[in-house]
């Protein structure tokens, strides 16, 4: 995108909340002059923001980053018009007459298939969708239970992606099992597992899946989610249940436990945070490209030179974009496993490999300033501070002169307040009940702004007031008891320290502020010895190529554009489509910045049908349709601009048009109809339906029907049944 393009755009529709789909938005708005309205679903706004915050923070951690700022991110996302699924939205202004509607695409929360409609022209933009159900999302509405959503069938143009055109998926269950298998093997042998992922979209699936696995198997290995925004990602996930799968909402309604109130998964924001958790662990970290973020840091730390003796595992769940480190590793894994296990059966999940190579990469570091640099920096800071102070003093003085009169009355009170504030400024230990404690909705006990004293309800047993043994103990024994109790509290199993975590998170700013200490960035190019177990398990949550090829003909677009794939899969998908019967031959595979003209411009005008016309129509029913031949004359009524269509009253005989048969029956269904009527019908040979051994019904290559038989009553009966399956006009 450049300046010229950005300024010409009238509306932007965003379909997913990951970098691939919205990464350039803040930059385009702040630097390229993109001013038009932007549309997306509610979760894409929330999660997209998380995605960009995370990226910004990751970049800031490794270099001076000014491509965009956090303010740019806020500005870009706060301006988005958010929509709900299947909410038709009429675009304003220049785009008047165009209606956009979002449909669930699955893959990511709030993921969208866009329908853009003007009159009879319908464009369906469906990239990165998933027709299969996942643990936190249902499959796309585009194709559910084997049926294509009515509203999305037969668009005049469909734009889809070829990312997965040559991929065939093993069942999801097997893939999950493979992931857990690798994970457990590594953990048991004392290694840790790194799962690079994004910070906003697929991370939810991984987090939910792993947390569930952990609680089902009651695992004690630490499970950590490490992104710059992990708390808020989970926080927003909690309030967007209505955008998630039915199973999840049903479960929530049943148990009232929010599925994103993780039981085992710990949320961390800093690399140092994970040092608390010792021993083998599993870390989900951003970014999935391994080009930036904690994932790269951990990769270097665990698999690079400083690695401990044990074998750690890098588990890729997405292929990432070409050119990235993750893709490079994937390619190597793919190459090695393909040669080792080339039996052509693509549906098995390929195993992990021992990766032991040296990779040339850039290592980013942020270190505190020292010595001269530090002195220089401090000098600059001080000068700046002095300047600021001088400036502030001037402003304050002029202000105080102006307001002096007004203030004089209130000054007494101000003073009083000041002293009060001074008093409050000193710290006292007050017993304040923890308000942010999650779980409880009501206050659990009365709170006191006084010395904490909890009035205990007097327990009464059969002998009167129950004896509290502690009251009668020696003080030394009491101390010992106290200590024991504290120990107990310390070891509550896997759930320790959880609530405290949450409280700290809640009051923490969205992103950790920059360290106070002056820092500088150091970038070195170096060869790093990498040693790890490497495995790729496809958890991208996208429909595979085989499914694409069955879904596309069911949608039946009148034109098709294939994008988002390298040339080979793109061509493969395009070719597969060209070979389909009844499928459009207008398939385009544009390259970047190529301009296509795909305007369909269907002619259209409205007519009002007169009552006489309506009553003269003879409708025949076909599925949900009603069809009738209409023949009349156009008249322009004086009181309206819309032409009306009236019955032909002139004597002229209209030329009789030949009959039209509408309908596309399946022979297998017709067979059932015949059998229902007591006629034996069997398939013989190549799709020939033989009925009562004397009449054959078949479909020719062009989709036409052929009835063949000897003269007999059956012939006529079968023919009339066949006719009845169609609307004849």
């Amino acid at each position: 995108m450049d300046y010229r393009v950005a300024k010409q755009i009238d509306a932007v529709l965003i379909s997913h909340s990951d970098l691939n789909h919205l990464g350039a938005l803040p930059y385009a708005r702040s630097h390229l002059g993109l001013k038009c309205p932007v549309y997306s679903t509610v979760p894409v706004v929330n999660m997209g923001k998380m995605c960009m915050y995370d990226l910004h923070q990751s970049k800031t951690n490794e270099m001076e980053f000014d491509t965009f700022t956090l303010e740019h991110v806020d500005e870009a996302f706060d301006k988005i018009t958010s929509l709900r699924y299947s909410q038709p939205y009429a675009l304003p202004g220049k785009c008047q007459g165009i209606t956009i509607t979002a449909y669930a695409a699955a893959h990511t929360i709030g993921g969208t298939i866009w329908k853009i409609k003007q009159d009879t022209d319908e464009i369906v933009y469906a990239v990165d969708f998933n027709h299969r159900k996942e643990s936190h999302l249902d499959g796309t509405v585009l194709h559910s239970n084997g049926n294509v959503l009515d509203a999305l069938t037969r668009p005049s143009l469909m734009i889809t992606d070829a990312l997965n055109a040559s991929v065939v998926h093993p069942p999801r269950k097997d893939r999950n099992a493979a992931m857990f298998d690798t994970m457990m093997t590594t953990l048991r042998s004392g290694g840790s597992v790194l799962l690079p992922t994004d910070s906003s979209a697929r991370v939810l699936e991984l987090a939910y899946l792993l947390d569930k696995h952990w609680s089902q198997n009651q695992l004690t290995y630490p499970l950590i989610m490490l992104t710059n925004t992990s708390y808020h990602t989970a926080h927003f996930a909690k309030i967007m249940l209505e955008w998630m799968g039915d199973d999840l909402t049903q479960h929530f309604s049943q148990t009232r436990e929010n599925p994103f109130d993780f039981k085992y998964l710990r949320l961390c924001h800093k690399l140092e945070d994970i040092d608390v958790y010792t021993g083998p662990k599993v870390v989900i970290a951003s970014n999935n490209s391994l080009e930036t973020g904690f994932a790269r840091d951990l990769f270097l730390r665990w698999m690079g030179e400083e690695r401990p003796v044990t074998h750690n595992t890098l588990l890729l769940t997405a292929r990432s974009s070409p050119g990235s480190l993750a893709r490079h590793l994937y390619d190597i894994w793919n190459e090695r496993t393909t040669t080792a296990n080339d039996d052509g059966n693509k549906r098995t999940i390929k195993p992990a490999i021992d990766y032991n190579e040296s990779v040339h990469m850039t290592v980013y570091k942020r270190v505190p300033l020292e010595g001269e640099e530090l002195a220089e920096f401090e000098e600059r800071q001080r000068e700046q501070a002095e300047r600021d102070a001088a400036q502030a003093a001037i402003i304050a003085r002029s202000k105080s002169i102006m307001e002096e009169d007004e203030l004089s009355d209130e000054s007494d009170m101000d003073e009083a307040d000041d002293t009060m504030e001074d008093l409050l400024g000193d710290q006292f230990d007050l017993y304040v009940k923890d308000a942010g404690r999650s779980g409880g909705f009501f206050k659990q006990a009365q709170s006191y702004r006084m010395f904490p004293y909890l009035e205990r309800r007097k327990r009464i047993d059969d002998y009167g007031e129950a004896i509290q043994v502690e009251h009668y103990m020696k003080s030394s024994d009491l101390d010992r008891l106290q200590l024991e109790k504290e120990d107990e509290n310390g070891g509550e199993g896997a759930n320790f320290a959880k609530e405290e975590d949450m409280v700290i998170d809640a009051v923490e700013p969205l992103l950790p502020g920059k360290d106070e200490k002056p820092m500088k960035y150091i970038t070195t190019e170096q060869d790093v010895e990498i040693q790890c177990q490497l495995r790729y398990v496809d958890l991208e949550g996208l429909s595979d190529g085989r499914s694409m090829k069955t879904i596309l003909p069911q949608i039946g677009p009148r034109k098709l554009i294939v994008i988002h794939g390298s040339s080979k899969p793109t061509e493969e998908l395009a070719q597969a489509c060209r070979n389909m019967d009844h499928f459009t031959k207008e398939i385009f595979t544009p390259s970047v910045s190529q301009v296509l003209n795909v305007s369909a411009a269907t002619n259209i005008y409205r007519v009002r049908l007169t009552d006489a016309m309506v009553s003269s129509l003879q409708f025949s029913k076909l599925e949900d349709y009603e069809l009738a031949r209409v023949s009349g004359r156009i008249h322009f009524p004086t009181d309206s601009t819309t032409p009306s269509l009236d019955v032909d009253t002139t004597d002229e005989q209209p030329s009789k048009a030949p009959s039209v048969f509408v309908g596309d029956i399946r022979l297998s269904e017709f067979k059932k109809v015949l059998q229902g009527e007591g006629i034996s019908a069997e398939f013989k040979g190549e799709g020939v339906l033989v009925c009562n051994d004397c009449v054959a019904v078949r479909k020719t290559g062009t989709g036409q029907l052929l009835v063949e038989g000897i003269l007999s009553p059956d012939y006529y009966k079968i023919r009339s049944l066949l006719y009845a399956q169609h609307a004849i006009l």
Binding site: V42, R84, Y85, Q87, T120, R154, K238, I239, M240, E242, T249, F252, S253, R256, E257, A435, G436, R437, S438, G440, F441, F442, K443, H582, T602, N603, I604, Y605, R606, V607, L609, M613, V614, L617, L622, D624, Y625, E626, A628, V630, S631, G632, R633, I634, L645, A657, P658, S659, V660, F661, V662, Q704, L705, L706, V707, E708, G709, I710, L711, H726
Partner: protein
């Protein structure tokens, strides 16, 4: 209540039953409670809400479902989770023949289950009187589909969209569109933004019928701030004088708003710290997770707060699990359900606290007639307790309405903004409703606006006539040119879900998504005579035929002969199978008829006496009878004969029409003389020549009719 006569007061004489939009309240007609309104139009049936009447028990509390066939309902839309709008849903879904689809918003569905299971438990009086069981509730719960605000759903031609209605979390208004007619059902709604909910939205675009609630009739609410101040100071007073303050509330909905107000007030008044606020509802506790989750359906204020911390975690309010746990000592504030003191904890506490004049009862919600809360509002000397004894009522009784229903100002403003020509009032007691009706009517007549207001009773049908203006879109090649006056338009009309499109048959697959097909038929007939004999017979019947060798017509490589009748039906005879014929044609009504007649000829060839004559040589011996001597006429002769006959017919007709005519038998021409003008008619071509235009036209008309009479089946 069930003895209303079924008469339609508002009937307008109309022609087409199909154009009638029928609205029948099965509940909530001239009453508050058991909301359930039946909407029928164009063969589609929608039920809006299915609630119970809180003042009745068992079957008597249901809407009049026995007046309808539940199986005919296509869609049930539930506006919010209150029992008077949703509690009959499990009954309808599980205990009747209902088989439609049910929709409600996500929070409504989430709370529905807990609220109704509580209702089932509380109303568990006797097994025979119970409307439905816990299992029914669970099964129904799984069949309910959840929708989001603004999401447009289409079910077989019924389009509907839900909008924010305020009132309670998840409350929705439904805008329903069938065949272009739009009906807006408000459910219970509020036009005032409060602490956690946004005000009801007004859907864009025109609305034809507005079904609105009328709970508060012509009453006006006091401004929110004043009301809140009155409320908090009233409570302050009661606890200040050492009394206990009882607030009967619906467990969910407005109670959450009151909690937010009280928590804020207690925060601001540290002197109240020692006075506990109890909220005695395990149901509310259960549903709090729902309030914490569906933040996106509340207002911007709450969403903002939520980003920092959870506003639904209260600092000063304690949950009371059961009465045993409750130490009744000293002043306190107690919120307890149910909201109208029908039974349960609120009733129990009311009976306990009523005799002490220090105590206070604060009623915050709307109270239905025949409930104790309603009676208490009239401050009687005493009342009857659950166990039958008389209890004196000395505690103070106050009524501050926090029920999020519209008042007159808001309701009438909303009605005016929606601008629907038909307004149907429901969910209001008869008096309130009629006052509102007359207030609205006088307002409309002042402005000379033609708006009709209806207040149907239960089971009374409002019939509205919508002249189904049929608009169709002409698309594709048919619409290539904008039409001019009197231009013919021929095509196929495709109707789906009340959308009409006209297109050419060729465009059907491209634009309509419909596949056209061709049915080719091939029939095999045994035939033993010679092909030339058949040809002769067919020519007798159908005129000239096309004959060609099979090799040319077909690529099969078979040798044989093909006869083509009327350019539609091929009769093939293969050389290697000369004892049978194959008929092949493209199936349609006309072709099938011709094929049948061809078949009749083929079948009669073998047995027809004419064949025998045609195929036998004349024999030398004589036969008796003159007829048999006559030779079979040759083809030319036959045609000649026919033409002559036709000519004579034409002459006869013309003579009838124009008097004496001259004719030339050889040239087959007739000359007509009328008033000195002359017209020459060619009876073979049926053409007319004349110098007089008037006569020419007249003779021409006559000739067209003669042509139809003489030659009724045109040659193909």
């Amino acid at each position: 209540m069930g003895h209303h006569k079924r008469k339609a007061d508002y009937e307008i004489p109309i022609v087409d039953e199909n154009d009638l939009l029928k609205l029948t309240p099965l509940g909530a007609g001239n009453e508050v409670g058991r909301s359930s309104i039946l909407l029928e139009y164009k063969g589609k049936t929608i039920l809006l809400d299915a609630g119970i009447h809180p003042a009745y028990n068992g079957l008597a509390s249901l809407p009049f479902f026995d007046e309808i066939d539940p199986a005919s309902i296509d869609v049930l839309l539930v506006t919010h989770f209150h029992v008077d709008h949703a509690a009959a849903v499990p009954y309808l879904m599980e205990r009747t023949s209902f088989k439609g689809r049910v929709f409600m918003t996500h929070p409504t569905k989430a709370i529905y289950k807990w609220l109704l299971s509580d209702y089932v438990r509380v109303s568990n009086i006797g097994d025979e009187d119970q409307l439905y069981s816990e299992e029914d509730l669970i099964t129904s719960f799984h069949r309910i589909e959840a929708v989001d605000y603004h999401q447009q759903v289409e079910v077989e031609g019924i389009k509907f969209t839900s909008f924010n209605a305020g009132h309670v979390l998840g409350a929705a208004m439904f805008l329903i569109e069938i065949a272009g007619v739009k009906v807006l059902y408000t459910g219970d709604y509020s036009r005032e933004e409060d602490r956690h909910l946004m005000a009801a939205e007004k859907p864009e675009g025109s609305v034809d019928v507005l079904i609105t609630e009328s709970t508060y009739g012509v009453q006006s609410h006091e401004p929110r701030l004043a009301k809140e101040v009155r409320f908090t100071s009233l409570i302050h007073d009661i606890v200040g004088r050492g009394g206990r303050c009882l607030m009967p509330v619906f467990a969910l909905g407005r109670a959450q708003e009151l909690l937010l107000i009280l928590d804020e007030y207690w925060d601001a008044h540290p002197e109240l710290d020692s006075i506990p606020i109890y909220y005695a509802s395990s149901l509310a506790k259960k549903c709090m997770a729902v309030y914490q989750t569906y933040i996106n359906m509340m207002n911007a204020r709450i969403r903002k707060q939520f980003a920092i911390s959870n506003p639904f975690i209260f600092k000063h309010i304690s949950n009371l699990r059961n009465v045993e746990q409750f130490e009744d000592s000293g002043p306190c504030v107690m919120m307890a359900s149910p909201g109208m003191l029908q039974n349960g904890l609120s009733r129990e506490l009311f009976e306990r606290w009523a005799p002490d004049k220090k105590n206070g009862l604060v009623i915050t919600g709307y109270c239905v007639e025949n409930t104790l809360a309603r009676q208490a509002m009239n401050e009687p000397q005493d009342f009857t307790a659950m166990d039958g004894r008389k209890v004196p009522l000395r505690m103070s009784v106050d009524y501050i309405s926090f029920s999020a229903h519209v008042d007159f100002t808001q309701n009438s403003k909303f009605i005016e903004e929606v601008k629907a020509p038909h307004v149907v009032l429901v969910h209001g007691e008869a008096n309130a409703m009629f006052r509102l009706k007359s207030a609205l009517q006088s307002r409309f007549s002042e402005r000379e606006e033609n708006v009709k207001v209806y207040t149907p009773k239960n089971c009374e049908t409002v019939k509205l006539h919508f002249r189904g203006e049929k608009m169709a879109k002409t698309i594709g090649t048919l619409a290539a040119k904008y039409p001019i006056e009197n231009e013919p338009l021929n095509g196929i009309l495709v109707a789906k879900d009340f959308q009409l499109n006209i297109m050419t048959p060729e465009d059907l697959s491209e634009l309509g998504g419909l596949i056209t097909t061709v049915v080719t038929q091939r029939q095999v007939v045994p035939f033993n005579a010679g092909i030339s004999l058949l040809k002769w017979h067919l020519e007798m019947m159908f005129g000239t035929l096309n004959e060609s060798a099979l090799e040319k017509a077909d690529k099969s490589g078979e040798k044989g002969i093909v006869l083509r009748v009327f350019d539609t039906i091929d009769i093939k005879q293969l050389e290697r199978r000369n004892n049978q014929l194959t008929l092949e044609w493209i199936g349609n009504a006309m072709n099938d008829m011709i094929a049948d007649s061809v078949l009749a000829v083929i079948l009669s060839v073998d047995s027809s006496p004419a064949s025998v004559k045609a195929s036998t040589h004349p024999c030398s011996h004589s036969h008796s009878g003159a007829e048999e001597d006559r030779d079979v006429p040759l083809e030319h002769d036959k045609i000649q004969q026919e033409i002559d006959m036709n000519f004579q017919d034409v002459v006869a007709f013309l003579t009838e029409q124009f008097g004496e005519v001259n004719f030339d038998e050889k040239e087959h021409k007739v000359t007509v003389n009328v008033d000195g003008s002359q017209a020459i008619v060619d009876s073979l071509k049926f053409s007319v020549e004349s110098e007089d235009d008037v006569l020419l036209k007249r003779v021409n008309d006559v000739m067209q009719r003669i042509k139809l009479a003489v030659n009724p089946i045109p040659t193909f």
